[in-house]
Amino acid sequence: MTRFLSVARGVAWRSIHNTVVSPAILVPSIIFPLFFLVAFAGGLSRISDVPNFHYDPGYTSFQFVFVFLQSAAFGGVFTGFGIARDFDSGFARRLLLAAPRRSGIIAGYTIGALLRWAITGTIVTVAALIAGMNVDGNGVQLVGLLGLGIAMNLVAALWACGIAMFTRTEQAGALIQMPVFLLLFLAPVFVPINLLTSWIHDVANINPVTAVLEAGRGLLAGSPVKVAVAFAALAGGAAVMALFARRGLASAERAG
């Protein structure tokens, strides 16, 4: 266990150190969520005038939850890009050689992803508050929302880690990003699920991200819904992606 933790700590430290030394690394993971917040909350606020659109805190809060979770997911995705770059540059091989417990490498990358997301998540939250977001949830409920974000970040980071370790090239960027992008957007992004029609309604119904979004919006509004379902979905996702990432690591080990 000690070795596992020391490896994880080392990899996580590097991740944070690189961010501190080159803060520009964080720019895309900050800019995109902020941009979505501005574009959706700012440009689409009239959507809340659609009949049967009910969300008491208002449209900015409605969109904030999506952007908050999306920033968590993309924070994980960008970690995958970094891992792929490490393989392309050969640094990953150095890690594999040096680490006595290699599964600690995965843990280290995911911890790094979480710590970086702490920065972007804070910035996004502050921006939404400045934009007039209403917060109706209590402290426990907001911690619950934070928990959803952490879990989302973990799932996405493990997914990205797995893909990066299987492919070991930066050219797999689209493969890392696209499924996450699709899962996020095939969900009630702009309107609640009851206002979705045709195929998108059916897809959103079975998309686990829908439960996470609805739980998050409920927590922010002070009326929690589907929280257990959301955390169960994320826990299941994390378990599956952890296995996937582990298999990716094994593939990288075999490739040498």
């Binding site: 501005v38 009239r46 957007f185 979705l196 195929w199």
Partner: protein, 275 residues
């Protein structure tokens, strides 16, 4: 393996001054078009991604038509303009990266050693944009029709729409070329790509300008030329023949093309860097 330069029937030396401007432009354009057609990834991703967004957002936001004052009952009719502009932005990046590659690899130096004129290079390198613009426009239109989009302006409107979208693609391609000349590196061009998308979203891409509630957002959309490009295309779909919208759409597209070509000239001259 001697290189016998005195080939029977051929002049010993090419005519001084090189080919005429048109011939040079066509030669460069041909190369640009061939390069584009041979890079399938360049054709496929710019087709698929905008259509993906069109499909997802077209359904996700379909209830927007219930907002009082929404100009159409079918949200896809409203949204179909967006893929054309998104596609044009992809064309911009492709054109920019191609030219940046020529700069980085030294191929531009090779061309500089010929009598190639600046104007021929500037206009000719839009050849690839023409190919992409035509392919994209046709595909987007066909997919639009297949998903139930109808053009109020009819067949004539479809032709005008194609012409406008190709002009927009030229304008953005020329912008990509200008960025390449200024920045000289493909990575830098790709880094700017997100900014182009910001201009798309800070426009009337998802809602009509008069229905944008947030004042500052509405103001930005009003001053954003991309709004008028969208509205020009959109008018042919949902309105019919709207002279003002078409004039603004064609006007801004032409302005984008002319301004970027004019700004590119001194930059291209400097890149070709010869006495």
């Amino acid at each position: 393996m001697a290189v016998d330069l005195a080939i029977e029937g051929l002049p010993a030396r090419a005519s001084s001054g090189g080919a005429g401007l048109l011939e040079q432009t066509l030669a460069v354009a041909r190369r640009s078009a061939v390069r584009t057609l041979r890079q399938r990834g360049l054709l496929i991703f710019p087709l698929i991604f905008p259509l993906l967004l069109f499909g997802i957002n077209g359904s996700s936001l379909s209830s927007a038509t219930k907002i009082p004052g929404f100009p159409t009952h079918h949200y896809r009719d409203f949204l179909i303009a967006m893929p054309f502009i998104q596609g044009a932005m992809f064309v911009s990046i492709t054109a920019g990266v191609d030219l940046a590659r020529d700069i980085e690899s030294g191929f531009l130096n090779r061309l500089a050693l010929t009598p190639l004129r600046t104007e021929a290079m500037l206009v000719g390198q839009l050849g690839g944009a023409f190919v992409l613009g035509v392919v994209q426009a046709i595909v987007y239109l066909l997919v639009g029709f297949a998903t139930g989009v109808t053009l109020v302006s009819g067949v004539g409107g479809a032709l005008v729409l194609l012409a406008l979208s190709i002009l927009i693609a030229f304008g953005f391609a020329s912008l990509g070329g200008l960025l390449a000349l200024r920045l000289g590196r493909g990575e830098a061009i790709q880094g700017i790509f997100p900014l182009l998308f910001v201009t798309l979203f800070l426009s009337s891409s998802s809602l009509p300008r008069n229905l944008i509630q947030t004042t500052w957002f509405r103001d930005i959309a009003t001053y954003n030329p991309v709004s008028y490009l969208l509205e020009g295309i959109r008018s042919l779909v949902i309105t019919g023949w709207d002279g003002e919208a078409l004039a603004l759409g064609f006007g801004f597209a032409t302005a984008l093309l002319v301004i970027t070509v004019l700004l590119s000239q001194p930059a291209m001259r400097s890149r070709l860097a010869r006495a």
